[in-house]
Symmetry: C2
Subunit: 308 residues, 2 copies
């Protein structure tokens, strides 16, 4: 039998377990979770075959170990897994959305990076949590980034890539630092901006406008652009603190770069240099239509006039 | 017969014409547009009964005049309409998304605000332009703000509100300055941020990550949060320059306030004060769930984990 151990039976770990079982990659799935209720739920839903409390015993039985815990504790848990691992034929991979912090932390803890550890980041999620929200379809069509280090064995990467492909994900290999820079720009900065924007809303638009009834004034003023923009401010604060903390250097750089653009634009605004502002808007629009939504200019521009 | 004159037969003017005809408010609809092709198209599609080139003659026949031209020229066109108007029984309203600049400009041009002018802002739009894109349904369920000044006759407000209600819009009356502040926060600032963010993207993420194939790297890294955030950067640059130019004071104030939040947060980030950052995220999330999406916490949080 081929055995998978999922450490962390939350949404990500449990969804991977469901998909991996269906894909036929593994005959037997074990689970470990510090939260007894999550483990019991995963077992009662047949997501895992057995829930274990002893990590060493679980690791000893596994061919592959998926560490699916919050980013802030991923390196700690990985180190615990490697502390009780002896067989070189086992592979270990994680799911944290920031890679360098996990890799650097683990390398320091273990005085070197194990060759059978494959850093991974599946870009998927849901607003729901825990094993009860798990779905075998969560990773179908999603992007998974593997960021092997010089120490990482090619064979380990090949095996882990195979698991993800088998469950329907698109697998990409790349450099961890470049990965973290990309997600700082494409994911972490937008979340930070949405949170900051919503803090501004709280300051500015707390009350109702004069002469307009008090109920839900914001909803009334908010066009579809606003709702899109604000939506990610509904994201879980604790998780995003951990992500941004883990990627703090990159996020700080990107935030500084964005702030420089805003400061420049505020000068243009205050000095009435609207031709330059419009040229910058046109550049932005071109980038959006060309890079982000190539060949989808209709869909891309859909929000164009709405809410104006 | 009751006659409507639409000055500007683009998407907004033509959609209002279609809806107003269907609602039975008007028996006859005239159109004026400085673009001969827009006027000809509106006439060939039976959106208007007649397209006129002489504004004075058109105004003389109208019971109501809707000025639906870009925000940057709204006051100019309104002044032209009033220059050839004599009857006090006629009402005139516009559709510009910024109110104070139009009101102040018009008051200066006419040395006083006509009592039959009703400043209006229908919050609706589309990515498509021109009379061919017009729809009788564009304003169904949309929010329309009327911002009468002390000079404005209550009877004129009543009539214009009636037209918009009859075509299915929700009409709200309020203070022009407060309106402009609200839309600066809820609409103009998000557009500015999306454009600024996309400028950053152009700087930072132009190339492909090392080790990852070159084609569309951004699309691959972009979660749903990113796509939402970026979408409004596809908006028409010339229109948004005009809107932001017209509301420059309010937009500058709000941009400055947001920038202050970002500068504060960057300090927290660089000093490792993540508990404070998390508390700010939690405040933001509460504001989002409570004010923006009351009773819709499920939908509101939908983006929560996606793209992490």
């Amino acid at each position: 039998v081929t055995t998978l151990l999922v450490v962390g039976t939350g949404l990500i770990g449990s969804s991977f377990a469901l998909a991996a079982r269906r894909s036929g990659c593994f005959d037997r799935i074990l689970g470990v979770d510090s939260a007894a209720d999550a483990l019991a739920t995963a077992q009662s839903l047949d997501i895992i075959d057995a829930g274990l409390t002893d990590l060493a015993s679980a690791v000893a039985q596994a061919d592959a170990v998926f560490v699916a815990v919050p980013p802030g504790v991923t390196a700690t848990v990985l180190a615990e897994v490697f502390a009780c691992m002896s067989a070189h034929s086992q592979v270990v991979f994680d799911g944290a959305s920031v890679k360098c912090a996990v890799i650097d932390d683990l390398r320091e803890r273990l005085a070197g990076l194990p060759k059978n550890y494959v850093p991974a980041h599946p870009m998927a999620g849901s607003e729901r949590h825990g094993p009860a929200a798990a779905s075998a379809e969560l990773f179908a069509g999603c992007q998974v980034f593997l960021t092997p280090e010089p120490e990482t064995a090619a064979e380990a990467v090949r095996r882990v890539a195979g698991y993800w492909r088998k469950i329907g994900a698109y697998v990409h290999e790349g450099d961890a630092r470049r990965h973290d820079e990309m997600v700082a720009v494409t994911s972490h900065l937008p979340h930070l901006l949405a949170y900051a924007y919503m803090n501004l809303i709280a300051e500015r638009v707390g009350g109702a406008p004069r002469g307009i009834p008090a109920e839900a004034p914001l909803d009334r003023y908010a066009g579809s652009g606003f709702r899109d923009f604000a939506r990610i401010a509904g994201s879980e604060a604790e998780l995003w603190r951990q992500i941004i903390e883990a990627n703090r250097d990159q996020v700080s750089v990107q935030l500084g770069a964005l702030d420089a653009v805003l400061v420049r634009w505020r000068v243009l605004l205050d000095q009435g240099r609207f031709d330059e502002l419009q040229a910058a808007f046109e550049d932005a629009r071109r980038v959006y239509l060309g890079i982000v939504a190539p060949g989808r200019s209709g869909a891309a521009a859909r929000g164009g006039g709405t809410g104006a």
